[in-house]
């Protein structure tokens, strides 16, 4: 069965510092990868996605992620964080074909940006 592992449950970082949130997945077939952000009392909002092509993917709010097939990783990065980036971040994988696809989410990483 496929799975998504987010290695850090919480990441505290000072404002304007860089951050990396780690994500590893297990899959023996081609997958599509996503990062979502969740603010308190809200649903999940798409940050970025990897479908194919360039392994470096840029998303909204200055975030980017790099797909590494050999390491089955899809880590999220931002060079300089803001207080407003404080939120829960979820990595997700979609696999399967039309009619059988399923999205699997990691357990989330809580990013806390400190002033």
């Amino acid at each position: 069965a496929q799975s998504v592992t987010q290695l850090d449950s919480q990441v505290p970082v000072f404002e304007e510092a860089p951050v990396e949130l780690r994500c590893n997945y297990s899959s023996s077939v081609s997958v599509y990868l996503f990062w979502y952000v969740q603010y308190p009392n809200q649903g999940l909002q798409l940050l970025l996605k990897y479908l194919s092509g360039s392994t470096l993917v840029k998303g909204i709010n200055g975030f980017e992620a790099e797909f590494n097939k050999s390491q089955t990783s899809f880590h999220l990065r931002k060079p300089s964080v803001h207080i407003s980036d404080t939120a829960e971040y979820f990595c997700a994988v979609r696999s399967g074909t039309s009619g059988t696809y399923k999205y699997i989410f990691g357990t989330g990483t809580r990013l806390k940006v400190l002033a």
Partner: protein
């Protein structure tokens, strides 16, 4: 263009009762998925509806059932509520595409079972 809308936003029920949650997908989307998100956890897949039929199901008991209507809107029903059913229930929609179309989420329904 309205995104995914869910109702109600909050709900309080007693153990043993039944509940129905509702979802309208984003315009142009025909596939609706439901997720349960317990406090401090990631979303757990409940089931997915397409063409008014349950197409896939996660590891949830039969107490959890659903429906999709011809206009693609959907309902999630939970019978015989347990305390452990307290969670944020998220509806997500997407087009039925072989490409990796991302899920679009609503803001969820917060269910509290007392």
């Amino acid at each position: 263009d309205a995104g995914v809308t869910q109702s109600p936003t909050h709900l309080i029920k007693t153990r043993g009762q039944q509940v129905t949650l509702r979802c309208s997908p984003k315009s142009g989307h025909d596939t609706v998925s439901w997720y349960q998100q317990a406090l401090g956890q990631g979303p757990q897949f409940i089931f997915q509806y397409y063409e008014e039929e349950e197409r896939q199901r996660g590891n949830f008991p039969d107490r959890f059932s659903g429906h999709q209507f011809p206009n693609y809107s959907s309902e999630l029903n939970v019978n015989a509520l347990l305390l452990g059913d307290s969670a944020l229930y998220l509806c997500a929609s997407s087009p039925d595409s072989p490409m990796g179309s991302p899920l679009h989420f609503g803001n969820g329904t917060r269910l509290t079972v007392t």
